[in-house]
């Protein structure tokens, strides 16, 4: 059964964001948008999370933390790149310390555009990520037989 769709738990990590997208992620949890009505919880713990929402471009320092968080998440797991910086590095892409978007280091499944990304777009992206989560679980089950 499709339980992942009913209860995706998010881990939010700020790689090098200006806090614009971070605020929007938090805003989508407030009474106006209320992510929890879809069963979505913002956990602070990678071991409980299904979806990794990354905001901001990846730099030489944050890449270790980002990879560490990703490795600690149990399978199946999905990455959502929130905002333009997480997608491509945006205006920071030529900085000497910036590696670029999240997809330079980890496999990104959903791109949520916007500077800053709108809460509606974030919710849409997370719902899309749920479908991918389901697909990954089915593939994983098939591989194990």
């Amino acid at each position: 059964m499709a339980w992942f769709k009913r209860s995706p738990w998010i881990l939010h990590y700020n790689a090098t964001s200006c806090n614009g997208c971070d605020t929007e992620v938090i805003v989508s949890l407030t009474p106006l948008y209320d992510l929890e009505r879809f069963g979505i919880i913002n956990t602070g713990n990678p071991k409980h999370a299904d979806i990794l929402a990354v905001t901001g471009s990846v730099n030489e320092k944050s890449v270790q933390v980002l990879k560490n968080l990703y490795d600690q998440m149990p399978n199946p797991k999905v990455i959502v790149a929130v905002g333009l910086c997480a997608i491509s590095g945006c205006v920071f892409q030529d900085c000497y310390n910036v590696m670029g978007g999240v997809d330079k280091v980890l496999p990104v499944d959903v791109y949520v555009p916007g500077c800053a990304a709108r809460p509606e777009a974030i919710i849409d992206g997370v719902i899309m990520a749920c479908e991918i989560l389901e697909k990954k679980y089915r593939e994983q089950k098939k591989r194990r037989g």
Binding site: M1, W3, F4, R6, S7, L29, T30, P31, D34, E36, R37, F38, G39, I41, N42, T43, G44, N45, K47, H48, D50, Q72, P74, N75, P76, Y137
Partner: protein, 293 residues
């Protein structure tokens, strides 16, 4: 009105245990769902569906099993088994003392599980859980003692069928029990060791290193525990099943209300206030009872 008791007495002890084992997770999960929905409504949000806790647990069983060390899940399984054991003892109508001590042992295994992993957050959560246990345990035992003073029996089957309302003899004990119930339900202001709410200063406390099926088991254990604790509330009003059920439910709603209205206490305040309340409400109640007899 006493049809509930007639059905209860018609069942053998084994049957009572089986009914508890099957029904308690559903009741507990539903209560958890009502909790989340109501909490959301109190915060002005729409909230998840009432079945959400079941979705969460079913999802967690599908997640990958990650172990930090091999003792980790052993402790969690024992935590589960002893909680279910004390619930079974209680609802079978056997000794309430055994149920109380079984619950304490289950709590001990939960603390050991927290200490068995390397995460500092988990250790901090486990240390706080020890403090919580020291805070609430006297009151739980005083409850059993107070009930014995009134009825002359430790057997739950006798307690629940006692003709006189226990609440009239034990108002202080009931108030004290209500106070520590907030700790047992892991509600604010006493949710120091682990919280159901999103952000906590020590990540997820004791459950930080538990993922997938182990976390699901912790959640199910929590459901069993909640049903058992509400059963203990029921005992105070056992003279009338309908009043007792209504009060048990009202207690749960009251705890949600408290949860929404308080910020988290420091451990010093948790410990001092709980023991003070236990002394003032619980012990004085027992002293008065023993003088009156």
């Amino acid at each position: 009105m006493n049809s509930i008791y007639e059905v209860y007495q018609a069942l053998s002890m084994i049957e009572r245990v089986l009914v508890f084992l099957v029904l308690a997770p559903f009741a507990g999960g539903l209560l958890a769902g009502v909790d989340r929905k109501l909490s959301a409504r109190l915060q002005g949000r729409y909230g998840p569906p009432v079945r959400q806790p079941f979705f969460d647990v079913l999802k967690l069983f599908q997640k990958e099993r990650i172990l930090v060390n091999k003792f980790q899940n052993f402790n969690i399984v024992l935590f589960f088994l002893f909680t279910v054991f004390s619930g079974a003892i209680f609802f079978a109508g056997a000794d309430i003392l055994l149920a109380v001590f079984g619950l304490a042992l289950a709590g001990t295994f939960f603390i050991l599980a927290g200490f068995s992993v390397g995460s500092p957050y988990s250790h901090l959560g486990a240390e706080r859980e020890v403090i919580q246990m020291v805070s609430y345990e006297p009151m739980v035992i005083l409850m059993a003692v107070g009930m014995y003073q009134v009825t002359g029996s430790f057997k739950v089957a006798d307690l629940v069928q006692h003709q006189a309302p226990l609440i009239l003899y034990l108002p202080g004990i009931f108030a004290g029990f209500l106070y520590i119930l907030t700790i047992k339900f892991r509600k604010s202001p006493f949710d120091l060791s682990m919280s159901h709410h999103a952000h906590q200063e020590i990540v997820r406390g004791i459950t930080t290193e538990f993922s997938g099926p182990a976390l699901a088991l912790i959640e199910i254990t929590h459901w069993y525990e909640n049903v058992l604790l509400l059963g203990m509330v029921y005992l105070f009003f056992g003279f009338n099943p309908w009043i007792a059920l209504a009060v048990s439910l009202a207690t749960y709603l009251f705890e949600i209300f408290i949860d929404m209205n308080y910020a988290r206490f420091k451990w010093q305040l948790t410990f001092a206030s709980t023991w003070l309340f236990t002394a003032v409400a619980g012990i004085s109640n027992i002293v008065v009872l023993s003088i009156m007899k």
